[in-house]
Symmetry: C2
Subunit: 596 residues, 2 copies
């Protein structure tokens, strides 16, 4: 059964306790968002997610989206939920107040996003895509375009899309063929086919604003000849309301493994009027503004599903009675013990729990860096925060989505045969979670981004934003004491990360294929160390809270137990990844293409 | 795209080259199955799978089974395919000639099963379940029952089911409630509800023979009070044709994540006439006859899907052009290189390949033991073969199905966003493969079976059937030479397995919870070592073949390269599992039930 209660206590922990000395300092610009305000937002968001979004999750999956004569209908209840979502102001949460947004800190809005993804990933796609469009327009478009589109997109009255992929090109956008021809009046005629366009067409909003990558007639080949355009479904009239159709159509929607309530559209642009965003042929840069933000968002999707899967599994593990504890009956008044008594079920629950808490803590750190990047007074701090976000973005995207999918599969496993039945709701989590490892750049592409672009950038400067705090923490907490096994474990794992980094830097310099061959294992190793750091910090803080008589003992004790499980049972995976990285590319590349 | 060509070369390798000195000796009773005959069977099976079953795989998934007024219809084409399957004699392949079977060796029929599972897992369920029923009847039923049912079930004219699970009991069959009351004429009236009954109702055969677990009125509580009954859908008339209805109905079928063309039925027995199979209250023993065979079969399902996923991924990796090789363009005449040039795609393909070849080799070894168990002249050999099968059954079931699911997910990953679209066919593999980790005992239950029943049995006698050949092999091949890295790697991994075994034996003696906490990691570690042994053996044999001028150089070279990849990139996972096992149960069990 799909059950969900927002993990507010843990959210408050990562929001207010864990990262109080995150290295980015106080941010005066965000002072107004005090503890009370943030708590109120979290509680309202929890209520909305639990009461409005969760009940539409299974029904949306069963019904899916409908496509008839080019019109796309979302499943029953989605339109009403979306109206309430915008009326309550959720769409505008993190956007700039200049355009009607509420300007909430990222550290807060990312937690709200997590709740949305836990309760209805498909629903979250509609406002999620709009955010990407808002970001690109706000950063790169003319004031005219901003004034026309941003207020309506920020409020959620209109939605947005990112039109990148074409049938023959996804990762390699250099191959794209959609054309944009100057119309002579400052606008362009955009023509071409796009696929996999989330929220490309639907019935939730009056207008849909497409951000489209296309080539100008004189554009250079490859990625250096791509420009970005705003192409609305309906051209806005002078009064701001949707006007004439703009030659944008949706010939079909895809039939997918999951997120069935999210309309994944084939889009056709036929001489559609478009407005250039940013400079000609610099579309990739503008696109990356959307993309990096989207990648963090996709990471949060993984965490969101991972949390929902965990809670649904806990519910079942307590409800389902089957067999007896190996230590003798624990619930002798029942015909059998609930399966939560069995060690192997515990192993799965604790793994899921650790995955979620580790990702949530790490995600919160990155979200604080996003705030610092935007709002910190000190340009030095802004720079460091930017480095950190750049470094961690591919890790958050790939690690969180891998673990979200792992959690969903563990939930199925805990349900046994019942987990395979659609009615149980958990198989939906596995199907929904699967997309997050693929879109916004597959997780393999994230790993390449990490080793190819992030490691070497500015002579390894990005790395310092992570390595320094971790090694400072280890130095400060080393030595005898109750945390010794944990700090030793972290130090060892961190050592493996440093050695792997050096190996890749060295070998990869001479042969980029070596970096490529190490990429996926390295990203996971990095992620495991980062989660280990989060857990060690969490343990230290929880221990201090307990020592100083905090009231919420159960929470801090559980945190330490989960951290201990992580260190004993999950972090050791570092050893296997390290050995695999050390092995290099030879055996991977030995077989000729045609021998497969 | 779902593509498949039976891997006949590798099948012949594991059938005739790899295990020539498997320790079970020659089996004179199987002499007639010479190389030519076995090749002919493999080639015909390949043809049938590729030409008849594969084309129905996607359409069967899209259409699913239909349930109307208690009648179940399989998807279009299934009835015709099933008729051809039985007419061509595939149903009777491995059954006893006494009942009309062809008595093929298991080593051969398991390879045919693999092909069926690669091309249409749902289809394979129908004859697969019949086999389980045939086994139980042949071993435990009266001659009358055998004569009535076996010829028709062996030919495939009638099909069979295993009716174990009830809504409130799956793993813990002690809780079951279906009753069987003596009718006074030697038969019983069976009443109760069963769920998750594969092939419980369908339109492929004239009669369906249910093997039903139920309780006699005076039965002791728990698993010691369960008996097994034959309950036909239609009671056979004296002339052997189906007679009157027997109160067996199918009120509904399940809507599942995958294997949608396999009818998973709720079954209702209302005073249905049943015949006792074996002794009263000894139903669990008879049931395990079906179950153990079924567990090996489910393992083969994992391998089958794993192979299909691999081939479909290879096809795509060669077809899809995107980006350029990190070493510079490899196919400069194309707009981009096929993605098979990218190391991270290679990593996935090589992993899938190694998973398949490792499982196929190990499965072939176990299949030889099945033959030896049944047919060897020497009772000592039969005993040792039985030990080996008992030990390896949970490993084959859990390891193969985990890796099959991993392969299916890697295939999706290689397809990128396209893999998420149903049309691509690979997401079906992930959905279909998922069930194999759940049914016939979840993989967690397999792990408990291994550490709880198999390790300690007869003072560790089962273990010797694996440990002795592996340590003999290491001793025989140690020292300087080209195989040194591999043998060293195997020795180290084998050492970790021995240490883990000792740890579990020691700790588990004092506290069964410790064995339970180690079970899943131990099973995987065991499986990794077993695959390592298979690959080291394969390398040795391939090396010798090459040295002595074998013609098929490409095959042997590829085998050695895949083995090398396995040793460098996969076997190191042993280290992580070893550390996790060493950590024990404490952190796993630390959190109170209500703290979750």
């Amino acid at each position: 059964m799909q059950v969900y209660e927002a993990p507010l206590r843990d959210m408050r922990f990562v929001l207010e306790e864990l990262w109080h000395d995150d290295g980015f300092g106080d941010i005066p610009a965000l002072k107004e968002f005090d503890s009370d305000l943030m708590n109120a937002v979290l509680e309202q968001a929890a209520k909305f997610s639990q009461e409005v979004l969760l009940p539409l999750n299974r029904s949306g999956d069963e019904e899916g989206c409908h496509h008839e004569n080019g019109v796309v209908r979302t499943p029953a209840g989605f339109k009403e939920a979306y109206d309430q979502f915008t009326q309550d102001g959720w769409a505008a949460l993190s956007s700039d107040p200049e355009w009607g947004g509420q300007g909430l800190p990222e550290r807060l809005s990312k937690l709200v996003e997590e709740m949305t993804c836990s309760t209805n990933l498909s629903f979250g796609m509609y406002p999620g895509l709009t955010h990407g469009g808002v970001g690109a327009i706000a950063k790169h478009a003319t004031d005219d375009l901003k004034n026309t589109y941003l207020p309506k997109m920020v409020s959620g009255e209109w939605s947005g899309t990112m039109c990148l992929t074409e049938p023959h090109c996804g990762t390699d956008l250099g191959l794209l063929r959609t054309r944009a021809v100057p119309a002579g009046d400052g606008t362009y005629k955009v023509s071409g086919s796009k696929i996999f366009i989330s929220a490309g067409e639907h019935d939730l909003t009056d207008n849909i604003i497409h951000l489209v990558l296309a080539r100008l007639p004189d554009a250079p080949e490859g990625v250096k000849g791509i420009s970005l355009f705003v192409v609305p479904k309906y051209i806005p009239k002078d009064d701001g309301t949707p006007g004439p159709s703009n030659g944008v159509s949706c010939p079909a929607i895809e039939h997918k493994m999951g997120i069935k309530a999210s309309a994944t559209c084939q889009m056709l642009f036929e001489e559609s009027t478009g407005w250039l965003v940013g400079e000609p042929n610099k579309g990739m840069a503008a696109m990356f503004t959307m993309m990096n933000n989207a990648r963090l968002g996709v990471g949060i999707q993984g965490l969101g599903i991972g949390e929902a899967a965990y809670q649904s599994a806990v519910w079942y593990a307590k409800d389902r009675v089957q067999g007896r504890s190996l230590a003798g009956p624990k619930y002798p008044d029942q015909a059998a013990d609930p399966i939560i008594v069995h060690p192997d079920v515990r192993r799965m629950l604790m793994t899921m729990r650790a995955n979620n808490e580790g990702c949530r803590a790490l995600g919160a750190w990155v979200a604080r860096a996003l705030d610092a990047e935007k709002h910190a007074d000190d340009p030095e701090v802004r720079k460091r925060a930017e480095d950190f976000v750049a470094l961690m973005t591919p890790i958050v995207k790939a690690l969180f989505t891998d673990l979200g999918h792992e959690n969903a599969n563990l939930a199925i496993q805990i349900y046994g045969g019942h987990g395979y039945i659609r009615e149980s709701g958990v198989e939906q989590y596995a199907r929904d979670a699967r997309i997050a490892m693929l879109y916004e750049g597959t997780n393999g592409i994230q790993a390449l981004d990490l080793v190819g672009r992030k490691l070497g950038a500015h002579m390894g400067r990005y790395l310092k934003s992570f390595f320094h705090p971790v090694s400072d923490f280890i130095e400060a907490n080393k030595g005898e004491g109750p945390m010794k096994p944990m700090i030793d474990g972290l130090e060892k794992a961190f050592g493996a990360l440093q050695l792997s980094t050096a190996t890749i830097a060295q070998k990869g310099m001479a042969d980029p294929g070596e970096a490529g061959a190490a990429a996926t294992e390295y990203l996971r190793l990095f992620g495991l160390v980062a989660m280990g750091y989060c857990f060690a910090r969490s343990t230290l803080i929880s221990g201090m809270k307990l020592a100083f008589g905090a009231e919420d003992k159960a929470f801090y004790n559980a945190k330490i137990k989960t951290a201990t499980f992580y260190f004993e049972r999950i972090l050791p995976q570092v050893s296997a990844h390290f050995l695999a990285i050390k092995a290099g590319k030879k055996s991977m590349m030995a077989l000729a293409d045609d021998a497969f």
